[in-house]
Amino acid sequence: MTPETAANLVIGLKYIAVGLVMLSVIGPGLAIGRLAAAGLEGISRNPDAAGQIQISMILAIAFAEAIAIYALVVAMLLLFVG
């Protein structure tokens, strides 16, 4: 294998790795969907508590989204650094 082929192989594998890393975003996606569903159900049962439910829902969604952002940061590091 010539060095040029090896270099191109590394670049190709890098892109495949980035794609595989971003597959893990399905977890936070499901989590945010379930959180929003639970929040909406809570608001529909008890409209007076809508303010408190909204705040807790946004907080929990931020936690779940942070996990997706970790995966995105790993993908960016793979793409743009090294």
């Binding site: 408190q52 907080l59 931020a62 989204e65 995105l72 940061v73 960016m76 590091l77 650094v81």
Partner: protein, 342 residues
């Protein structure tokens, strides 16, 4: 005939102004095609590195310029509000009135979450929200990330062909026309590009620094609320003490409780450090991904598409600022609750 007092209506610009601007946009992108900007995680230095006595190597980076601009905006807001509130009017006009509509819900939220300590926590919460909000929304201003200067090509940095638009005396305005391929023979003669201002939240130093500050503030508040026994949350030897208790029923399962208490305490300690990473990377990842999205979309389709993503970025920047503040608020109010006994 109107019976109410005539209100001052703002005249919006007519529709043809918008169409002219879009037309100019199309002409400009047909004349000089858009070039994909170079994206890198580390911020670019504007000045050469100097060796400071205490700090070590130091260079002014373009994110530091953005942080300074955000600071100036915050100081201006603070002085304006101070001046507007001077006459003690209960219905403040001007900037104080606008900010009152923002600060009142924030203070209500703080009081709801941390009842007694709201007066201590609220400055932290509101300052973090405003600082991160201004730092996030700066990426929407035209000129940020796009106006900069050229420098000699470093090894490995992308270089660009340029074309001079006009020059007034000593000042010349040059634009980038294309990116030079990496394997080009004359690549050294082309310059590289560094923007003057880069969004502050895309710098890991800024986000991790804010995260470390917030977490240390949480610990300080915990010590202030519970004294030195705040650290018993992490090093929990109450179960060990109960192992030597005189009562028989307390001593039975005590070793099991002691072990779990110590383990849970260590887990809490580790999760405090994980909060620093989580705070820093949540803000960095959201805003960095947003700015890369704006770059890529702007360089693929130069007309109209970027505006849609800027609407998304307004929302994302606001949410990330509020979430940073709210998480700090929640952790601070959890730290004031004293350590429960079984």
């Amino acid at each position: 005939m109107e019976t109410t007092a005539p209100t001052k209506t703002k005249k919006t610009p007519p529709m043809w102004v918008l169409l002219v601007i879009i037309g100019l946009n199309i002409l400009a992108s047909m004349a000089i095609g858009p070039v994909m900007p170079h994206v890198q995680v580390a911020p670019e230095a504007l000045t050469p590195t100097v060796n400071l006595p205490v700090l070590g190597e130091f260079a002014l980076t373009n994110t530091m310029v953005a942080i300074l601009i955000a600071d100036l905006i915050l100081f201006w807001m603070a002085f304006r509000v101070n001046r507007d509130l001077k006459d003690g009017d209960l219905h403040p006009k001007g900037l104080a009135g606008v900010l009152e509509a923002v600060i009142e819900p924030l203070y209500g939220l703080t009081e709801q979450t941390a009842h007694k300590w709201a007066d201590w926590i609220f400055p932290w919460f509101a300052s973090l929200v405003f600082m991160v909000l201004i730092a996030n929304w700066m990426e929407l201003i035209p000129g940020v990330d796009s106006i900069g200067f050229f420098h000699e090509a470093h090894h490995g940095a992308p270089v660009y062909e340029t074309r001079q638009l006009f020059s007034i005396g000593n000042f010349e305005l040059t634009t980038i026309t294309a990116e030079v391929e990496a394997g080009d023979a004359h690549a050294e003669s082309y310059p590289g590009f560094v923007p003057f201002v880069r969004v502050a939240s895309t710098d890991l130093n800024f986000t991790l620094g804010l995260a470390i500050t917030a977490v240390i503030a949480v610990q300080v508040l915990g010590v202030k609320a519970s004294g030195g026994s705040y650290f018993k949350k992490f090093f929990n030897f109450d179960g060990v003490k109960e192992m030597f208790s005189k009562k028989e029923d307390k001593r039975q399962f005590a070793p099991l409780f002691a072990f779990t208490d110590i383990f849970v305490g260590l887990l809490e300690l580790i999760s405090e450090f994980a909060r620093i990473i989580s705070f820093g990377f949540r803000l960095f990842g959201n805003i960095f991904a947003g700015s890369v999205l704006l770059f890529v979309m702007g360089s693929l389709i130069p007309v109209l598409v970027d505006s849609v993503f800027m609407m998304l970025e307004i929302f994302v920047g606001l949410i990330q600022a509020v979430v940073f503040g709210m998480l700090t608020l929640v952790f601070m109010s959890m730290a004031t609750v004293s350590h429960d006994e079984h």
